[in-house]
Symmetry: C2
Subunit: 627 residues, 2 copies
Amino acid sequence: MRPLSPDRVRLTDSFWAPRQLQISEATLPQQFEKLEESHRLRNLRIAAGKEEGDFYGFYFNDSDVYKWMEAVAYSLKNHDSKKLRDQLDVAVAVIQEAQEESGYIDSFFQIRHPKLKLKNLNSMHEMYCAGHLVEAGVALAASIGDRRILDVALKFTHYLMSVFGPGKRRGYPGHEEIELALIKLSEFLREPEYREFARWMVDERGKRPTVFEQELEDPDSLSLSPWVTNVLCADGAYKGDYCQDHAPVREHTEVVGHAVRAMYLYTAAADLAGDQQDEALEAALVRAWNNLTQRRMYVTGGIGPSSFNEGFTADFDLPNLTSYAETCAACGLIFWGQAMLEQTGESGYADVIERALYNGALAGIGLDGTSYFYANPLESRGTHQRVPWFECACCPPNIARLIANLSRYVVGEAPTGFFVHQYVGLEASLVVDHIPVQIKIDTKFPWSGEVTLAVEPEKAVEFRLSLRIPEWTEDVSFDLEGSDDEAEYENGYAVFARTWSPGDSIKIDLGMMPGWVEADPRVLDNLGRSALTYGPLVYCMESHDNDFLPQNFTADTEADVTAGFEKDLLGGVRVVEVEGIIEVVQPSEELYPPRGSVQIDETTASFIPYFAWANRGPSQMQVWVRG
Amino acid sequence: MRPLSPDRVRLTDSFWAPRQLQISEATLPQQFEKLEESHRLRNLRIAAGKEEGDFYGFYFNDSDVYKWMEAVAYSLKNHDSKKLRDQLDVAVAVIQEAQEESGYIDSFFQIRHPKLKLKNLNSMHEMYCAGHLVEAGVALAASIGDRRILDVALKFTHYLMSVFGPGKRRGYPGHEEIELALIKLSEFLREPEYREFARWMVDERGKRPTVFEQELEDPDSLSLSPWVTNVLCADGAYKGDYCQDHAPVREHTEVVGHAVRAMYLYTAAADLAGDQQDEALEAALVRAWNNLTQRRMYVTGGIGPSSFNEGFTADFDLPNLTSYAETCAACGLIFWGQAMLEQTGESGYADVIERALYNGALAGIGLDGTSYFYANPLESRGTHQRVPWFECACCPPNIARLIANLSRYVVGEAPTGFFVHQYVGLEASLVVDHIPVQIKIDTKFPWSGEVTLAVEPEKAVEFRLSLRIPEWTEDVSFDLEGSDDEAEYENGYAVFARTWSPGDSIKIDLGMMPGWVEADPRVLDNLGRSALTYGPLVYCMESHDNDFLPQNFTADTEADVTAGFEKDLLGGVRVVEVEGIIEVVQPSEELYPPRGSVQIDETTASFIPYFAWANRGPSQMQVWVRG
C-alpha cells in the first residue's frame, strides 16, 4: 500500500483545504521572512562567500531552510504562488552558492569550524541537515519538477557516501533524519543505493562500541559539544539512549530518548523492514510502537513528556502541566505511523495518526497560521502562548510541511484497491485496470461523522474499496446506495470488494458522539480525571469560554452533554457544554481550612477542541478535568 | 518575651528528648566525619598553610563547619560528650589557624582568589559564612562558656566593620545571615554596635542603585559568579528579587526569591523592628508573613516550591511532586516565626512554627539521625530518598542545630510571666520576684493531646502562665486542679494570672483528633484533595504500608477513621486507618478507554506522619490524597 502521488489527489473539504490555502498564503511567506530575519539564510550566504559576517544561531539552522523548501514544494502543488516561487528561488540560489565543490554543505562548519567537518556525528547534525536537504530536493522534484535542490542534495549525498559506508568510515547521525530521506530519494530515483546506505546506518546504530561512544574519546569531537556527556552518559558510563544508540535497533523494546529522533529513526526502519521482510526489525518496531502507544503517548497523540531530553521518560509518566509533547514529535509519530500503516495495512496505525493529526500536531500552529507551539502541554495556568518563531525553529516548517502534504496520509492505493485512512473531503484519481476512476469524498468531518463517497469509473471496474473504521466509534454504518452489498471487515477496515459502476455512492455514518475517556490508572497524573472527546478530537476547557478556571471544574460525566457548531468561534468549531460543579474562589486568610469549608456551586462548562486553544490571548486550559 | 536561657530548660519527653540524644550520639559525630571526608576542614587547613592542596567544593563550604559547631554547642549543653568535645577542638584549632592576621577568614578566597576578597557580595557568601561563624561563636560561649570561636568571630566582624558601614563602603550580603548573627552577638555581649551594623545592612538593602546592581558592572565581581545575571536580572534589567534586593525591606509586600535568604533577612528584621518600634518595618514584615502563610506555604510548613531559585514563585503555586521546600527553609521559617512571636506574643506565629517543626523541618532528617532531605516534596513516585550528605550541605547541620536548640522555641518568659508555646515534656526553672519556680510539663505529645503542667514555686508567688491554644484544636480544656480559676484568652493563649502555690497543676486536653483539611481552591494542585492531620502532624500515605500506590487511593473523608499507636513502627508512631476506594491496576493494551472501564475496589489505607516517611527504602508517597 502506498500514498497517491500528489497530482492525483486534492483536498476539497472545509477543514483542511482552507488550512492548506493558509499555509500557502500566510504561513510559508511568514516563515521565509523569519528565515531571513533570523540570519538563517544569511548564514548560508556567508558560507557562500557572498556576505561578510559570522555564523549566528543554532548550528543546525540550515535544516529549517530545507524543511521550509519541502513545505513550499507541497504547497505549490496545492496552490501556485508567485510569491512563494520567488522566495523559493532566493533560497535555492543561496544553497547552490553555499555548497562546496566537494558537495559538502553546512554553513555552521563552513563558517566556524572548516577543519572539524563530520568530526562529531553525535551532536553536530550535519547528516540531519543533509537529510532535510534531500527531502526538500525530492519534494521539489516530485511535486513541481524542480530538480535544482535535488542536484545539491545528490552531490552532498555522494560526498557523504564517499566518506561513510561499508568498508569506509563507520558513521550515522546523532539526530536521525537522513535515513528516511535517503529512502525517499531511492524511491523517487528508483535507485537502490541510497536506501542501502540508509539500511547500513540503521544497522550500525547501537552496536558497541558505538560511533558516539568512540567520539567521546576524541577531543576534537568533544570540543564541539562539551555538554553531550550530560545526555549520552549516566553514572559515568555511556548510555546513548538519548539518540537511540543504546542498543541495535532490532533489540529495542521501548521508545527512549529524544522523541523526534526516535520517530525519524523508526520511520526509516519501518520502510526498511517491509522492504526485506526483516522480521527481527519488524518485531522490534511493533514492540516500540506498542510501548509508545499503550504507555507513553498523551491522549492528544503528543509524545515525549520531558523537556530535559525533549523525549521519553518512563511508562505512564505523562504529566499535563509540564508536558513537552513537541509539535515535531507529533509530526514524527504521524510519519512513523504512516510507514507502519503502509507496511501492514492495519487501521490501528491510522487511528494513532488521526489522534496526533487533529490534536497534538494541529495544536502546534495557531489559527492565524503564523504562530506556533513548540511544547504542547495538556494544562496551562496562563503562561503558555504561541509565538511567531523560535530560536530553535524546527516545529514551524514541520507542521507546515505536514499540512501541505496531508493528502499523503489520507488515502492510499495498493494493487488490490483504494484505501480511505482519514475522512477528509477530497477528489482523487485512480487508474484501475487501465480504467480511470474518480473518487469524491464529501464530509464536514471532524464536525460531523457523515461522509459521502462517490465512485465514478469511466466504466464498470472491479476493485477493493477499504474504509477505515475509527477506533473511537461504537456505531458505524456503511450504506452502499441502491445495493445490498455489504462490507467485509479486515484489519480494521470495511472492505467493499465489488465491481463499481458510474454513480455508485456510499453513505457512511461514523457515529460521532461526544464521549468521555479515562486513562489507564498507572497514569498517575490523570487519576480521577476524564477527557472529553468528539470523534478524533480531544476537547479542553479554556478560561476564555468560562467565568471560572478550568482547574476548578469537576464534570458530571454521567450527565448528557450538548454539542453545537459555532461558526464564528475560533474559525468555526463544535462547542460541547458539560454540567458539573466548581469550587468558588473567595477571599480567605485560611490556606488550609477543614475539609468542606469551600463553597461548591453547580455550573455548566464550555469545552472547545484542544487544537483551537490559545488563540485568544493568555488563558488557562485543561484537557483532563476532574470527574 | 524571650526564650529561657539553655541552662534553665531541659526537654524530658519521649519525642524530642531522644532526638536530642540522637543528635549528640549519632548525627553530630557523623556530620564531623562528613566535614572531614568532604574536604571542608581540609579547605581551612590549606588556607592556614598547614596542608598543601587546592580548594574543593562549593565556595561557601566553611559555613557548614560553623553551623555544625553551633549545633555542637547546643548539644553539649543537652548531653556532654567527650567525642564531640574532641571533634570540636579539631575544628576550633583549624579555624583559629586559618584566620588571617587582619581577621579575614574564608578558605575559598584565601586559597583561590586572595586578591578578590569581598569583591562580590551578591554571590560569594563571605558575609554569609561570617554570620555562621558569629552564631557558632555566640552559641559556644553562651552554652558552654567556650569563647575561642567568639574571639575569631569578633575579629572577623571587626574587620568587616572596618571595611563596611556608614561613611565607609556600602555593602550587605547576597545571602542574608550575618544580620541575625550580629543581633545575637549584640545580645550576648550587651554591646549595641553589632546590632546597629546589622540594622544598617538591612536598611541599605534594595535601595537603588543597589550594591549588587553595581557589582554587575564590575568585571572582577562578575568573574566570580558569571551565572548570576540569570537569577538577578530578567528581560535585561536588574531585578534582585532572588536575594530580596528588589526593594527596600520596608516596601516589601510579599515573599520573593530564595526562601532561606528571605527567612534569614526577616528574622533579623523582626528583631530590629521590635527594638525600635519601627512601624514601617513591622508592617512590611506582617505583609510578608501573611503573604507567606496565607498563600505560599505548604501544609507541612515547607516553603519555596521551585528548585530554579530555591524559592518562591507565585501565590498558591504549591506543586506537590516537584516541591522544593528545602529543609533549611522550614528551619528559617521557624527562626522568623520565633522572632515575630517574641515581638508580638501572638500565638499564630507559634502555630506556624509548630507546623514547620513537626512536618517540613523534621522530615529533613531520617529516623536514623544520619540521613537527610534537602528537598521535601509532598508526593513521591519512588525516586526521592534521604542521603547521608550533600555537595551543598546546608541542611544537615541546620536541622541538627534546630533540634539541639529546641528548648528555645518551646517555652518563653516575659517580665509578666511564663509562656508555653509548644507542648513538649520538659523541666524549666524560673525566678519570679526572687522566688525560684520549677515548671514541669508531662505529655506524650504529639501522640496525645493530654498534657499535665505542674508549677512548683518555693513559696506562693503571683505570675501569669500563658498556654498556647493551637490553631488546629476545636475543643481544648485547661483544668486547674482543685481550683475554680479560669483562664482568660489573650493573643491565642489561655492565660492564668494568679498566685501559684506548691503542688499546683493544670490538666490540659488539647482535643487532638484526626481530621481532614483542604486547601484554598486557588491552590490548583490540591483541588479535589484532602490532607489528613492529627494535631500538628500532617499525615501521608506511603507505599510500604499499603499494597497499592497512594496515588490510586481516594479517601472517604466522611467516614470515621481509626488511629492506633504502633510502638514498633518507625520509632513509634500513631497510624491512622482510612476507608476509601482504589483503581485496580490491571494489564491493559488500552491507554485511554471509555470512562468507567477501570475496576474500582473498596479498601482501607494506612497513613503515617509525614515526617516519618522515606525510612524504609524506596517508596511512593502522597500527602494530598483524592477525596
